[in-house]
Subunit: 200 residues, 2 copies
């Protein structure tokens, strides 16, 4: 079973994790899967109707500064989005529907770049279409397939799977039931999977 | 100005930070100050009447497992307290009142050991008295001075100082207005202070 990488397109700390995971997994020879999901339903179940970074301003101010420092240390471009959180539903449905496509990881990174570098509204289908075109994909059939009834059902099941695995934030990593939360835990999760992941 | 280390005796992630900070600061030749405070009033201002680790069970379950892994990696003894969070007020008042005493850091570590290794109730004055005795201090005058009116006033000012610096969790580190949150940020905060801390 591969290491599960769970990310949400609106999540600030998911951005550096998504940009780094391929290189870090490769060094450890660890297989991983990209799992897009939404925090909205999970937060709602906890009584939050917005991101905790908006509900708790001191925490939010800290997060933006912390992320700025993280990106600077990694030489990752970063611009604070003028709107937060943006709606990552369409992008997440595409990732879930086309999970085995070779272009999917490039699409994921294009969407993060749109949100956290170019300050574009990833909730707008035209922006997502542009992200698809940038990775060389004809956007119309992809968007149409990702928004059909069976894709929506599949995406709901994906969010349920996150909840069942006790995921409460993003990014998260799951290795044989062992949960790791946060960009800070990426290296540890990959190493854990390299050591324990093949046992089950 | 020294690096400010803010910790709360009930806070699980403050435990490894308190046990590690002296060695890490010494390597970088960084001066730091021990600042005990309480999260209760800060959480209350956010509408929480309990630790978020109790209010949000998935987060709490994760935290205990994460802390177990952290302590294992550091070879730090750890036993999950049977009561959480415990009341660290008396211990924090002692630290604030006797902040320049040579025995204070040893007392801090004795209290964390009582809470997170020996599962003793640090809200009980007899346990705190025992922690003082263990570091060779006559407990009666210390407890009496730490609970007099001027000490209580000083401790309230200490909590206000935390709030004014936008501290919202523990452990936290402040270097010339630059805030770092979490045991995960200890190394970064010390390095930041070594580079930027002498400027102001």
């Amino acid at each position: 079973m591969p290491l599960q990488f769970w990310f949400e397109f609106a999540s600030p700390y998911s951005y550096p994790a998504a940009m780094r995971i391929e290189a870090i997994a490769q060094v450890r020879h660890v297989d991983f899967e990209w799992n897009a999901f939404l925090l909205g339903p999970i937060f709602k179940a906890q009584g939050w109707n917005d991101s905790p970074f908006n509900i708790y301003p001191a925490k939010g101010r800290y997060m933006w500064r912390d992320l700025e420092r993280i990106c600077e240390a990694l030489a990752l471009p970063f611009q604070r989005p003028s709107l937060f959180p943006r709606n990552g539903t369409l992008a997440a449905r595409i990732v879930t529907r086309f999970n085995r496509a070779a272009w999917m990881p490039r699409f994921v990174k294009a969407v993060y770049h749109a949100n956290f570098v170019d300050d574009r509204d990833i909730g707008d289908a035209a922006v997502i279409a542009d992200c698809l075109e940038r990775v060389g994909i004809d956007c119309e059939p992809v968007i149409s397939m990702a928004t059909d009834v069976s894709s929506k059902t599949r995406f709901r099941a994906q969010i349920k799977r996150a909840v069942e695995q006790n995921i409460f934030g993003a990014p998260s990593f799951v290795s044989n039931g062992e949960l790791f939360w946060g960009n800070d835990r990426l290296e540890q999760a990959v190493l854990w999977h390299a050591v324990h992941g093949e046992i089950c």
